[in-house]
Amino acid sequence: MADQTLPIAGTIDVTPRRRSAAQMLEWLHGWVVTVDHKRLGILYMVYGIFFLLVAGVEALAIRIQLAWPNNHFLSPETYNEFFTMHGTTMVFLVGMTIVFGFGNYLVPLMVGARDMAFPRLNAFSFWLTALGGLLLYYSFIGGFGLYGMGAAPDVGWWAYAPLTARAFSPGHATDYWALSLIVMGFGTLGTAINIIATTLSMRCRGMSLLRMPLFVWLMLVVSGLTLVTITPLTAAQIMLTIDRYLGGHFFDTQAGGSAVVWMHFFWIFGHPEVYVLVMPAFGIASEIIPVFSRKAIFGYPAMVAASVGIAFVSLGVWAHHMFTVGMTSVGNTFFVLSTMLVGIPTGIKIFNWLATLWGGKIQFRVPMLFCLAFLIQFLCAGLTGIMLSVAPWNWQLHNSYFVIAHFHYVLVGAIVFNIFAGIYYWYPKVTGRMLDETLGKWHFWLFFIGFHVTFDTMHFVGFLGMPRSIYTYEPDRGWAHLNFVISMGGMVQGIAVLIFAWNLVHSYFKGKEAGNDPWDAWTLEWAVPSPPPVYNFAADPEVHSRRPLWDLKHPEDPDWKYEA
């Protein structure tokens, strides 16, 4: 963050070489009280990557336990806690924080603003989210559940009633789960409101809505969707807490409550939540694929329309998680149709990315590698999603390992791959240094191979009848070999993530200097220094097209001549 130009020549720099303790404290204080969107973005990212490692360790423990039939690596109690915490952590503490971290850091820069619309609300939202995560993990020592001292939640991340009732989940583990989700929910709502306000009212001169970068568009759509979906989740947690402490009977089936109502509340949140996580990943891909194809995004208006379309349709598909709970045949039919309809705007997106590659000059740099893997994996995830939307087949596949494979294809194959792509792409902007390309390629190829060994194989154990959430399985079911293969793939992914973590640290100190615009890109964030100054833009920028830096670099052939 050094000022390159001191205004007075010949001043003597008297800054001591080593930071004293007091300065360290001041530095820390600066991070705690910051309202700068870039610093908050970094905090979100660091927080998310930390929990990515934590939840990754939980996943590896789960995979060691399942590598052999009747293994005793984890007790049943611990296994149930680990898969619950793995899911909850990955969705709320990794996915949501990293997505909003990208949003926080990039949205103001991309729309040419100096900060978010409500900087202090922004800080408040982050610290709420952080508190929610601590609350969740505090349950390991403070849960006082059935099993002694600490007990993390062990009811699954979907936490179906009535297993969460006090009769079946005594102790406080479930309360920690519900409370942390309420707290994080409010943090998420704050950020969503902030992003909507920023995109609607803070754009620089010339940036009409249809000139916003696609990433910003997708963050806008996601934020709108968040407002709609977090609300039922929060309501359901409050109802659950009322059931547990005030004698309510919302989900208490012994007293006439309904277990199915919980499912509806949970999935009207839960399904759009998938889109809340995956659409920023679409946004990242829509920034990276054009730059490394050296072409403008194909069909920008269609991409925007498809995103808005997906958001609307995604609000009407939740009960495809409930084909086995005994809805009527007409009810099932409705959700088959709505679910299949999602495939249409999603297909449009895939075709548009493909057309962006078509006729380009594709550079296989690390961010692009992750995005290309995303393309093929997201295609597969969409197709297995179509399989699952076929209700009768869903009666077989639901809650089997096929479903686990499908949603990890979405959550890892699409979202995590694009998160990695985004980190490789924007790390130079954030730190001023490039991530190491060789380590990056090792990371990519190991993660890619590990991912496919693990999750491709999982589809097949699902076909062979293996249900999810089981801490062990019988040796005579024919699942043992495949499970061993799956676990091996998990280890490879673990190694890849360690390489990535090392790359983040190593390149921070030793990486190549990045300069303002290392990728020869076109959006506004690349017009400012790396890392950007606190105020982002010294003078308010003005844009005339979707790719302001293209216009600067190619004055003879600017975009604004062609954009519809």
Partner: protein, 353 residues
Amino acid sequence: MRFLIRERAVGVIRQRAAGVLCLLAACSMRAAWAEGPLGSPSIFAPSSTPARTILDLSWFVIAITGGIFVTVGGLLAWALIRYRARKDDELSEPPQIYGSTQVEMAWTVIPILIVVVLFLTTTRIIFAIQDAPEPPAALDVTVVGHQFWWEFRYPKLGIVTANELHVPVSTAQDPRPTFLRLMSADVDHSFWVPELAGKTDLIPNHPNEMWIDPHRTGLFLGQCAQFCGLEHAKMLLRVYVDTPEQFDAWVEQQKQAGVQDPAVAAGRHVFETEACTNCHTIAGTAARGTFGPDLTHLASRATIAAGAAMNTPQNLRAWIQDPNTFKPGALMPAMQLSDEQVDELVAYLDTLH
């Protein structure tokens, strides 16, 4: 109840999907061969109309999605090879293309048509399976899910048993489907025997129904498919499909009260005077508990602890001493009996055919 759709287009689709089939078959057969005699409860080995109808529909869906995958994946691979940046012309930018209404219309309309086809096919099968009427010859069974075992009640026959469901085989000449009414005593469970039908959840306060009509005799394995708590993994399920004669004989036997063999009266005394009767029933004795499985014909079952262990005297003994041996977290407490009492008790339970 036969579904026309199956007889029609499926033959062609099967051939087209033959590659995938081979892969899957190799996969499941290899695994089954390597692991033991029972093999996997694979959804690709249906033995009942719902499972078979679902499989035929799946082949249709696999063919369509497989076609999409090959097409789009092929285009992607081609684009990556054809349009990769080459060393010699790094400096110039390629022509900028912003979109094309015609092309975009085309790839919007084609997916819509595919969705229409898939949706109509799916709808037909949903109604065919879910709304199939119950024929008069059908057998009724009420399934009650418990943490972590299955209770089977045959209301018309007056039989109550646990964990091992017996049903008659259903052939074209003599169709005898079984209709299951699914309920739960505590939390959500799910009844899943992949070779017989898709799964349906057992939800308290929300009775569900499903049906099976197994076409061949034998043992079919399944297990609870909805996380139901600590021992969800060991809530296993066995369905025995009997010939009509075997089934009738089984029904006759199950209708009897518990065997009263004077040689094991000491064991019966232990059962009736210790806490066993709080949870278990043995017809013809004072034991009337309903929290745990009915033990009237325990010795006629192949397994104990919802399939977690084979029903041998040694296992039974270990189970009574401490259920955590097989199933840590099972709701049955360790009974704290003396060795002598356990010996007597196991000898008694072993006579309950």
